[in-house]
Amino acid sequence: MKSSVTDSSPVAVENLSKSFGREHTMVQAIAEVSLQVQAGEHLAVIGPSGSGKSTLLHLIAGLTSPDAGHVAVGGVDLASMNDRRLTLFRRQHIGMIFQSYNLIPTLTVEDNILLPLLLGKGRSRRDGHIDVLLDTLGLTDRRRHRPDELSGGEQQRVAIARALIADPTVILADEPTGNLDSLNGQKLCEMISKLRKEQKRTIITVTHDPSVAIWADRVLVLRDGWIVETLSTDSYSTSKELGERFLEVLSRDAETVA
């Protein structure tokens, strides 16, 4: 089936559905979600716990397959690839930032950042790029350190560097500030925003925190697997305003459902 997901948008999702469990224990995690993210756009997906944010991100990353619908990254339908091609595609085109950093404790900062290249034995091509990244992210003096010797903020910066090292088409961030205090969270958001602007990155961030979502261009509000609202951050000057609007949407939607 040829569909709009094959257009040139960095990320295009069409009628995506995903459920877990069987029969009476079945939970609809994602329901008929469609969205498109333009090149250089920063999209935030916001929603309460259990709304399907992370599942949506996993589906976009190709970490799990949908029950229905399509995901295309860089114009390529993920469903058209077998596991090996999908893995190689992910390595090359998708950068992942996890809430719990997910650094390999036995590797140094440098090796953790280079990990996507080490996995592909493609180190030489982008080796020099690591210096720029370390410098940009303020990690130059931490190059030889191991993850357990770093603060939480530093570990997440390493995770960001790792997501960028392969020069991916899109960066997917799953609660990137979830394990950080508010000050470090804000710093990280600034950094991501700066990178996006300077390097024209396409970013999708999943969060439940309006103060993180405010850094995006557009915010999708998710509830029980459905997109219930799309907000433009241009309309909100502070995260507080965005948060209030978010709560308003959620309560309105809850009333509708009731």
């Binding site: 990353a61 596991d83 893995t87 190689l88 992910r90 992942m96 404790p105 036995t106 996995l119």
Partner: protein, 997 residues
């Protein structure tokens, strides 16, 4: 309790493979304990049963009277070869016994020592080979009733000429059926004889083993009249054996014919001594192949490591779960109960299965051994069950105690925050220092061999090995950390992974890997040790390239001086070195010289032309001087009372046996005297031990302390009347060593002739069909008969020496065929020759054939010894599987991250396999690091005790093969966990990993 059982049921269900592995390891350990302990028990109990049987060694008779003194009887026991009948017992004594009312029955006989050609696998011990002759008594009897019950055939008075009655103990080596033939060698040559009857004999006392014939046949076979030199006496009821024996011995002494008297008590004592020797010296291995003490114990150690590794890992893995249980209200006692019940259940299961497996192994092994067949295995079942239980429950207790203490000491919150994430760790420094110290202790144990104290000899080497083992376990963390960096490159290259992904792979699970490596190293390290030690210890016993092609001994009187040159002219003989061979013993030894065990006072004394025998260029055997100058030594030897000695003596006591020192020898044979020589050189002659033993150049089968070389003239002066009996020969290419027998006999006895077709023995052989009833070729008469050997192209028909006269036997009956067997068994290089009728007997030993037999046998022993380390290695692979499973499970999260970052399924598969390979490579390093020094220590100790110069040979090809097999085993052990990980989706791995945190 129901909660505990419910938790355990879920645990076993979820971790079924780990549970299965733990049970398998437990069962294997229990089975091995049962086999080891049970095997010893069987051997020891068999000794007691043997003692019971020994009571019946003389059958219905009470006393055996043997002509000669007690010393003569003792010397005769150790003497091999053939000998004329011992002097007769006084007629007066015999007559008095026959008329003594206290005596119920008397059987008189005349015994002479003869040799027989066993053709079957009679000798299963290391040093006997096909072709060696079995020395026994040929007894002429006139009694109408046999001394024991006849189990087959007829007694000597009812069987034809050249027929014999053998006892049941002889039936196994010589033929177990009436009508089958074997060759009997006496001082009148080699004769084919037929078994006419088999006597029941309950217990194998070597000196009682006899072949019974009528006096007429005895005289024909030995050329001697049958005069009474042995008497069997059955005493009347109520007569005291001891008193009667003392009285008889006194009478015989007074009559001028001293006697030695034996009763059943002597045989009982001997049986008990043998049983004790078998168990205390680990010799039972020769009788019972499962009883390789050291190897089996180490295999048990490996199994215990596996149990420890498996169980403690399982326990530690659940630390967080227990934290949760503590947090929700489970008491410390409850937690301990949970661990104890789990251990109890697993141990019980392993014990039950292990007992069954061990019993089965024992039963199957024993059923393979005729002498153990029918042994009741249930006699000591209580002991086996108890020891198996101690192993199973003890190992589980030890394995669970440390993690259990750790678990209950933790606060609930500590346990809950315990993370499954890994980081590289290092072993504490004290471990390295202590490990190095303990490893260094092992070589010191070699010093024990220098100590005369038997206690030190028994305790220091085992302590040294134990220290070495513990030391290496302590060093293993450092070895892991050091080596994984290097091997990560190798594994990375092979599995196409970046080495940086692997370089901390093992140290991240340091203690788990150390546990696994310990189990592997026990087996693999022992494999390395045995291979290096075994191959190295073979070297001093291997005959060198330059050595005589054959050794010939001529009976009874050797070769007179005037005929010596003619030996050189025998067709096929290139050169011959005659020897005057004697068997004195070291005399006047200082107390500091250790004597006993395998170090004996007996020496081989050779009077010969030393340069012709061992000279640099023209010597018939390769030899080097360890001490002294060859030219000077040869010059002094010709001047008189000087000698050369082998290095075996020098190694024993350099202070006593060195150049310039005096060597005292006791002649042993009457008239006894002490010979004194000055040592002019110490020589190193490879392979002399086995060469002299194979050629039966020793007094008997027992070991000798060394070899002493003097000039022929000196030997003649010291042993007046001694002739050149033994020759070392080099043969012309293409000559079959065995073909020299008849020409040499003919040289000394012009009347000698090969048994003619119409002679009794030959006609019997000729009448046999070329094929046995079962269709297999009869080696005695068929196309394979007469299969001889030549210097080149062995296996072809033997070329007859030009000078060999005598008729060829039609169809070749008996020509070279092994007598009386026809079982199609492996005869190795041995093929007996046709009977020769002569009063001269010439024994020919084919050195090359013997060397091949020695090599085959030695390699067989090494292979047998290697079996148990490999068994231990196989067991240890359970630890690898377990380690890999847990390693993969613990790293679910990490694997999920790697997969989500772009590691393919095959990449993850290779990643896990590479870890297995790394473990294997580290095990190889640890095993080499342990095995090479340990084998060196062993070589030093064994060489010293055996009186040979230590040689260190590393059989790299075999080692590489074994080590490669271990690596492959480790990789194979990682396959299942690797597939398990690779087939999971990245998200599943992440979720499982997160759940485990």
């Amino acid at each position: 309790m129901s909660l505990i059982l419910k938790l355990l049921a879920k645990q076993f269900q979820r971790r079924w493979l780990c549970t299965l592995l733990t049970v398998a390891a437990l069962a294997a350990a229990v089975a091995m304990v049962i086999v080891v302990v049970g095997g010893h028990d069987v051997a020891f109990t068999r000794g007691n049963l043997d003692a019971e049987k020994a009571k019946q060694a003389l059958g219905r008779f009470d006393l055996l009277v043997i002509s000669g003194t007690d010393e003569d009887a003792q010397a005769d026991q150790r003497r091999g070869g053939t000998s004329p009948p011992a002097p007769a017992i006084s007629e007066e004594i015999v007559s008095r016994l026959q008329n003594d009312p206290r005596v119920r029955e008397v059987i008189t006989c005349c015994a002479a020592k003869v040799e027989c050609c066993p053709s079957g696998p009679i000798f299963r011990t290391a040093m006997h080979r096909p072709g060696m002759l079995l020395s026994c008594q040929l007894a002429a009897v006139t009694a109408k009733q046999p001394p024991q019950e006849l189990v087959a055939g007829q007694w000597v008075d009812a069987i034809p000429d050249y027929s014999v009655v053998i006892d049941k103990q002889m039936a196994f080596p010589l033929g177990d059926a009436v009508g089958s033939s074997f060759q009997l060698i006496s001082r009148t040559g080699r004769h084919d004889v037929t078994i006419g009857g088999v006597l029941d004999s309950p217990f194998p006392i070597r000196r009682l083993q006899a072949i019974y014939v009528c006096p007429k046949t005895f005289t024909r076979l030995t050329g001697q009249p049958a005069a009474t030199n042995r008497i069997l006496i059955d005493l009347a009821e109520g007569v005291s054996r001891n008193e009667f024996a003392d009285e008889l011995a006194g009478d015989a002494r007074r009559a001028g014919t001293p006697v030695h008297i034996e009763s059943a008590d002597d045989y009982i004592e001997e049986a008990k001594r043998w049983a004790s020797f078998r168990t205390s010296h680990g010799q039972s291995g020769a009788f019972f192949p499962l009883l390789r003490n050291a190897e089996m114990n180490l295999a048990i150690l490996a199994a215990l490591f596996v149990i420890f590794n498996t169980f403690s890992m399982g326990v530690q893995e659940r630390m967080r779960q227990w934290g949760v249980l503590r947090a929700v209200g489970m008491t410390r006692l409850g937690l301990l109960t949970l661990i104890a019940v789990e251990g109890f259940l697993l141990a019980t299961l392993g014990w039950g299965i292990g007992v069954g497996a061990g019993y089965w192994l024992m039963r199957e092994s024993l059923s393979q051994l005729a002498s153990f067949a029918g042994y009741d295995l249930t006699i000591h079942v209580g002991l086996w069950l108890t020891l198996g239980a101690v192993t199973a429950y003890g190992a589980v207790f030890l394995a669970s105690i440390i993690p259990a203490i750790g678990a209950v000491r933790k606060r609930p919150l500590d346990a809950m925050t315990g993370t499954a994430r890994l980081r590289a760790t290092k072993g504490p420094r004290w471990m390295i220092l202590l490990g190095l110290l303990l490893v260094a202790l092992n070589p010191l144990s070699v010093l024990s061999y220098q100590l005369p104290d038997a206690w030190a000899d028994r305790t220091l080497p085992p302590l040294g090995i134990l220290a070495s083992l513990v030391g290496f376990v302590l060093l293993l963390p450092s070895i892991v950390i050091l080596c994984e960096r290097i091997f990560s490159h190798v594994a990375g290259a092979i599995f196409r992974l970046d080495h940086r992904l692997l370089r901390k792979q093992l140290s991240a699970n340091l203690w788990r890997v150390v546990g696994c490596l310990s189990a592997l190293t026990v087996g693999l390290g022992l494999f390395v040790t045995i291979q290096v030690w075994g191959r190295s210890m073979m070297v001093p016993f291997m005959v060198p390239e330059r050595c005589p092609d054959a050794v010939v001994t001529v009976f009874p009187g050797g070769v007179p001086d005037e005929k010596l040159p003619e030996i050189n002219r025998v067709p096929g003989v290139e050169s011959a070195v005659p020897m005057i061979l004697q068997h004195p013993a070291l005399a006047n030894l200082p107390d500091t010289v250790p004597v006993g065990g395998i170090i004996t006072r007996d020496v081989i004394y050779i009077g010969t032309d030393a340069p012709a025998m061992i000279g640099d260029d023209k010597g018939i055997i390769a030899c080097s001087f360890l001490r002294g100058d060859p030219a000077e030594a040869y010059r002094l030897l010709n001047e008189g009372r000087y000698c050369l000695i082998t290095d075996s003596l020098y190694i024993r006591c350099p202070e006593c046996f060195d150049v310039g020192k005096t060597l005292n020898l006791d002649t042993l044979d009457p008239p006894r005297r002490t010979l004194t020589y000055t040592i002019v050189g110490v020589i190193r002659m490879k392979g002399w031990h086995l060469l002299t033993m194979s050629a039966q150049m020793r007094r008997g089968l027992s070991r000798v302390g060394g070899m002493v070389l003097t000039s022929a003239n000196t030997a003649r002066a010291d042993y007046p009347g001694a002739n050149n009996k033994t020759f070392w020969l080099n043969l012309t290419p293409g000559t079959d060593a065995m073909s020299l027998e008849f020409p040499i006999v003919k040289l000394l006895d012009p009347n000698a002739r090969l048994a003619s077709p119409d002679s009794p023995s030959a006609s019997r052989a000729a009448s046999r069909p070329a094929h046995r009833p079962d269709g297999k070729p009869d080696l005695r008469t068929g196309p394979l008969a007469g299969m001889g050997r030549s210097r080149e192209g062995r296996g072809g028909p033997p070329p007859r020496a030009a000078g060999a006269s005598g008729p060829r036997r039609p169809g070749g009956p008996g020509r070279g065929g092994p007598p009386g067997r026809g079982r199609g068994m492996d005869l190795g290089d041995y093929s007996p020759q046709p009977p020769i009728e002569s009063n001269v007997y010439c024994r020919v030993t084919d050195t090359a054939a013997m060397t091949r037999a020695i090599v085959r046998r030695s390699e067989g022993i090494i292979q047998a010894l290697t079996f148990y380390p490999l068994l231990a290695l196989g067991l240890a692979s359970l630890a690898v599987v377990n380690t890999m499973i847990l390693s993969v499970r613990v790293r679910n999260w990490e694997s999920g991250v790697l997969r989500s970052l772009g590691l393919t399924r095959s990449g993850l598969l290779r990643y896990v396999l590479a870890e297995g390979m790394l473990i294997g490579l580290l095990a190889c390093v640890a095993s080499l690091a342990f095995g090479l020094p340990a084998s060196w220590t062993g070589i030093l100790g064994t060489s010293h005790s055996m009186g040979v110069s230590p040689v260190y040979v590393i059989p790299w090809a075999t080692l590489c093969l074994g080590l490669a097999a271990a690596v492959v085993l480790c990789i194979l052990a990682a396959v299942a966990p690797a597939i398990w990980a690779a087939t999971r989706t990245p998200l599943k791995l992440l979720q499982e990993g997160r759940a485990a945190e």
